[in-house]
Symmetry: D2
Subunit: 479 residues, 4 copies
């Protein structure tokens, strides 16, 4: 029931067989759909001629049978799903971005957020560059194309570009004849590689996309690694590896990623179960049943139940037919009630441990607690499988502004009252490493410990301010 | 992961306040969407003038904000969702059916299947009646209107019609000034009544629709009961009650209904958990983890885990973005794999008890077992929370024909091998009463014990045969 | 520039070859599109199984390549276009109407308006009939099906039905194995027959539809004639012929029909040219140029120019891209100016004879005169190729109500001033026979001389009144 | 009945009032729709923030009421319609092009074709520029933005850019606070200026757009002129005027422009009538009637009739409902017959002079002659109101390649036979100046006399060749 906006998802495939690449990308993107529901796109490279279809909507909305077929055949494909925002210009910001330059066409898909995008953009504009979108992706494309002028090869241009890009980025790009994947030196966002039975190489934000299309998982890209595949074989460039300690976004495990994915060696499902187990040890409760908020609280609830010995119950039914076009109820009806329904026979007269992945503003949480009380729950003990949110994210997670974050505004006791819980327990910040057995996390949203320089607001120029004043449709920090 | 087609869902509301009836019906139908995804419709009665919007698609697809608003205001509304089939004429069969007759307009929504529809239809046609659709609903409308000629009131006409209708039907209909709900004397399909805080009366196929809109559950309609509400108050006609022992469709508990619904006094979730507990007692397994097939096997899996003491695990992630418009993969890709993904960290190296609600053809089941094996499961012990399907249903459930049902074609041992399981266990037929503590079930699909006369195929005329030969879009047995 | 709503158009084909019937109907309906732009439909009969597609929109909007193809093949097809109105229920009133009855399926397309529809409807409802739509077509279908019970054949049933139907109707209907065309005994609406090179028989509202598909025009149906074609050959039933003097709607020549059509032996283009010639003789003007309002005034303008010896000029350019979805300008912009533009070089400093087919409310006419004056016309002499409208039509023409008709409200002098013309001349009522060389016209809208009994308003019941109060979407007098 | 693809149309408005700019642009673009039916777009500038909506389709298809409203208000708007081609990428090439650069946002609309686009593009790409589209418009935008780095103002940047641009271009562009219109120094494409009653300044490709919105025509822009309007008032820059003799595209008068437009001082309708008069003098015919092919041959037919004294007749009815989505008939049906129908009563037994604006491949012309013969015409004397096409156009007219042009392949006698005419007469090349009383034409398509250097094919690189091999959706020479 998280209200955080999800990230983007990227995918790429380079195959020795020309057939079925658009189809495979379609199914892989469907498996990555949880990372972004605003727009979807596929770029198909047929011997240097890249055809792109991208539009606002789910993968299954953007691609009808006819449109998918119209992409034709080719040896390389790149796909992208983008998180949900609104506005008439969102079509323009859909990816993959296809550009033409003197060495041919290029298609680029990006997950993450640059921290120096404004500086780079200003530099480029001062030299006469024009921008069609407001995405970081177009900045990255420019930098790569500029470096291409000096570089020996497109992969060398990507490497040179990485010297100038700062922040979070997992990239998949198609040059006329190669597929290139690159992960930023901090490793903020996941990116993995797999192989198809026919020898095709695939890259994806999460391993679940490999499973969906029958690809074997090979390994995660190292932070800073660039892998290039083409007719010539595969090149691995690790010149940018080891610059920084890895700082994978902790929220990939806690909320973003799909439970069946394995990221940087650790199963997401396992990490969430462990979060539940930690909560059971640190914040036990004398209760009758453990219930997770679907879908993001379920894995942790299993862990809490296993560790505590309390029975696990199915306390909610989520209406699975509420999609993008569903009409939100007005004030007279309870929005949460329409999406989520408590199972009275499971909770009536019981003391319930309720597990969710996060509390952002607190309003949704309060309504969920209320659903349980209306269904007859005697007590509700709220357990949250993440530490409290206290800071904005500059690496591609759309965390609410501080003035909306309940943890920034209220004390622990006040929050417990506001959400109407009998008790409240967060995952301790110091337990984060236990989730995966590693401490290579970015946890800046919890502790303010940013692994990079962060943009200062004062740099924003008049034009940007106007744009945001106008509630501009384009988000500059997408990815 | 059931492959049975779901039934229809009906809803009706009669309110002292004119505002918001279309909205409330929209949200109630959304809560009943699991009962039918083919088409949706709302009829709004504004002082005798009934406006209807109905079309192919989910509730959220048929009704945009503008279309919902265009229904206007009124005191009575009737809604319907219909199960999924295909074909260009499905729009014509969408409900509620609105008709004009000499006493005014009538809107009718129906869940179920008449067993004497062909006879009634032939009778009506022989007297010069014309039919626009191939639904039972149009037959019911005709019979009611004909009886209206002789009846004192519309509710009396419904009562007279019930003398002629045979089979399964839960009806909600709006006359110019009244809302009428009626349930067939066998009580095959559920139908319940609720009340809104403002005094509005509502009827719905399942109680989950009442919860969604904040209505209080009052009670289920008795088999044979007719309830009429309007400005005059409420009339209850029980003249058709008690004719037969109740025979509620057992599959409502096992598969159709939403777990948070309570039908004829028993929670669906509880009934499913009990099925799991029975399976654990009757078909125990020396295993490491119990896993349900999402979403229909989850409740029984909880019950099996609780009874057996084995841990409950989340073994699958279901892709929730695969909707009506999703392009089915061709033969080279595994369809089940794209919808369902095994969580390797949960099953690797383990002996797994796998719970699903039914095995129809066996092909899907075999693929799911396979997913677990590919993810490293050591053993897979299949447990099915229903007895084997052996017979067709004439009461509104779209059970596959005998030549496709695996239980009709193969022995128990063969089935176990075909689905590649290490062991197999069905819910014993004699345990059905334990699910709800009552034995008032129709279990004809399991035991061939039909509570009514059933249609004989020889009655089908040339025209019908042609129609079915042409794989006609219209299904005559919808509802 | 007429503002009268157009009629419906009907088409039917019965072919010895199964292929291409849907295509031929599509092209024929496109040629009849001027008779109705609200909705379009095709019914394709494949050996008794009739598939129908019909929807709101132009023929080219309703039928995509896929939808047209999905009709499949067959030996008989029936098509319909319907005039433009608005409302969510117009889809329901789209034709052909397909019904099921005990002898099989029937598809019916109708152009015209019954004068006893309410009486028949009331009769049918009193006997228990239900109506889905508010069209006369459904009444006709019922009457035919009822008569079928007593008749030897479907064509006999049609003949019997004609004894009960009063008013205007040109029908094309498909029974399981025959195609039947029938024209009412007054011959209000046109209907003709043609033959394809492969021996197929076609029926159409106008001969232009025959030309479009390469069919040879055979002859018009006689008033009252019924023609039946099928495997058995062709049957002609003239038992209803000669009951009344023919009274073809005069407005078919003046406005409705396409100029290239020939109706009941007379070219529409010729009739309009003759109207222009008559105007030139009866209402001469000392002018420099003769200009027709596109497109309906052009033929008469040619005639006026030829008779008067004045040069014919192209005085207006009509914007041909303004279709159904064009957004009407608000009050600040001139609606007529956006659709029609005066050609300054043709009219500047000149005295202009302006020809249009009718003046209904006068507002559009005034604006057109104004366009000429703004473009520099010195004088504008308005000539109208029809007599003034004074009475409502009960035979299928949607003439504005008397309170809106300028000729009912103002004197000739006042009208001349209101439209800002220097002089005004109508076609004399007594000249109507000169248009075609026959006096077999219905000219009731001009002279109030109705050829049949007309419906009295007092018969309208409460239900109807409510409906019209609600500006009900369904028009009861369509067809 | 011309089969030449039409050009683009541009529009711009700068208003002292914020309201209604989107509406006015919508209606102006509708009046320019004949110049391009592929795509349409509007950019609305609200104090520097430019919102753009552009898509494939007619103006009335791209802009629904909601979408038009969503543009909001502002002081400057730019609009564009684009000619028709096909392909999934045409959406990307729709205009106005909106770009972001360091001085703010810019919206650009362009009609014409650069002859040095490839050279400029190559230059830009070599310096690291990236291109999203394949249009000349993006090249122009780049050049302007680059010059902006060195220029005092945006209008100065446009002037500097004009030193580098070669070929045909009529531009309208919005900077954050100004509206700028510019016409290439040869004046290949039209561009005029008007004023609204409220003081707003408007620019449009043709004067008919001014008429539609009630603007007064002020004057045509001079070749090479740049006009800038904004809060500061109006600036006129004529530094590029007088470089070359004016060479307006002759085909604007003969075919492209709307007859009610006045271009560079001459009425299009008058020019076409004069062409007809010249034909009557040079190629007289002993005939009974003069008939124009709708719509492009009608004006010339009037001229021919007037000069020759022969009567003008309406010989064809054009089906006005055949739009973008109409399904083209397959080989068995005559495509021309479905669009165009001969009026038999006008041509039967007569000797006909048939006037059209051009003969390109000859196939359509042959079919039209055939229609007349089938309708009974005794003789058909073809007269063409243009000289024969012999050369490709590099300035924005999509003339067929030489291998398709009938005049390049056959002798005059052969053409006469191929189109099945009794005689044939073209407009003499030397008569062109008589059309407008000026000889400032580009007539390269007739005489090969190109006013500028033309691109040599050898410059095309591998990438381009591949693109065209793949029948790439994007046309590089659009505008």
């Amino acid at each position: 029931m998280g209200v955080l906006h999800e990230e983007c998802g990227v995918f790429g495939i380079c195959s020795p067989e020309r057939a079925q690449l658009a189809d495979l990308t379609y199914y892989a993107l469907s498996a990555l759909q949880h990372r972004g529901q605003e727009s979807a796109g596929i770029a198909l490279n047929d011997d240097g001629i890249i055809t792109t279809i991208r539009d606002v909507g789910l993968v299954s909305e953007v691609f009808t049978t006819d449109r998918l077929k119209s992409l034709g055949e080719g040896n390389i494909a790149v796909g992208h799903v983008r998180y949900s925002t609104t506005g008439s210009d969102s079509r323009r910001n859909a990816q993959p971005l296809r550009i033409n330059h003197y060495k041919g066409q290029l298609a680029l898909a990006h997950n993450g957020n640059l921290t120096n995008a404004h500086i780079l953009r200003h530099e480029l504009e001062s030299m006469g560059s024009i921008f069609h979108s407001t995405t970081d992706t177009e900045v990255i494309a420019y930098i790569i194309v500029q470096e291409r002028l000096r570089a020996r090869s497109i992969e060398d241009a990507v490497a040179r570009a990485m010297d100038r890009l700062e922040g979070a980025y997992s990239l998949v790009l198609s040059s006329p004849s190669k597929l290139i994947a690159a992960r930023d030196p901090h490793g903020f966002r996941p990116l993995c590689m797999g192989a198809m039975p026919n020898g095709a190489t695939v890259f994806a934000s999460e391993s679940c996309a490999l499973d969906a299309i029958g690809a074997e998982f090979i390994r995660d890209l190292l932070p800073g690694e660039i892998i290039t595949v083409g007719n010539h074989g595969m090149d691995v460039d690790r010149s940018h590896c080891g610059q920084f300690p890895q700082t994978l976004c902790a929220f990939e495990y806690i909320y973003f990623a799909r439970p069946d994915s394995v990221i940087d060696g650790c199963s997401v499902h396992t990490a969430r179960q462990r979060a539940g187990r930690i909560l059971a040890r640190v914040h036990p409760a004398a209760a009758d049943v453990v219930i997770g908020v679907p879908d993001s609280g379920l894995d942790a609830a299993i862990g809490y139940a296993a560790e505590s010995g309390l029975p696990y119950g199915i306390g909610f039914v989520k209406n699975k037919y509420i999609g993008r076009t569903f009409i939100a109820p007005d004030g007279r009806l309870d929005k949460v009630k329409i999406k989520l329904s408590a199972v009275e026979s499971e909770v009536k007269g019981k003391s319930v441990v309720l597990i969710d992945d996060s509390i952002v503003r607190g309003t949704t949480c309060a309504r969920i607690v209320n659903l349980l009380r209306q269904a007859g729950a005697k007590e509700v003990h709220m357990r949250v499988s993440a530490p409290p949110f206290l800071n904005p994210c500059y690496y591609g997670t759309d965390i609410d502004s501080r003035e909306n974050l309940i943890a920034c505004k209220y004390s622990f006791t006040e929050i417990t009252q506001l959400i109407n819980a009998d008790s409240l327990g967060y995952l301790p910040l110091e337990s984060l490493p236990e989730l995966t057995g590693s401490n290579e996390f970015c946890s800046a949203c919890f502790d303010g410990n940013y692994p990079t320089e962060i943009p200062t607001d004062t740099r924003k120029d008049r034009f940007e301010q106007q744009l945001s004043k106008k509630k501009a449709e384009d988000k500059t920090t997408a990815g």
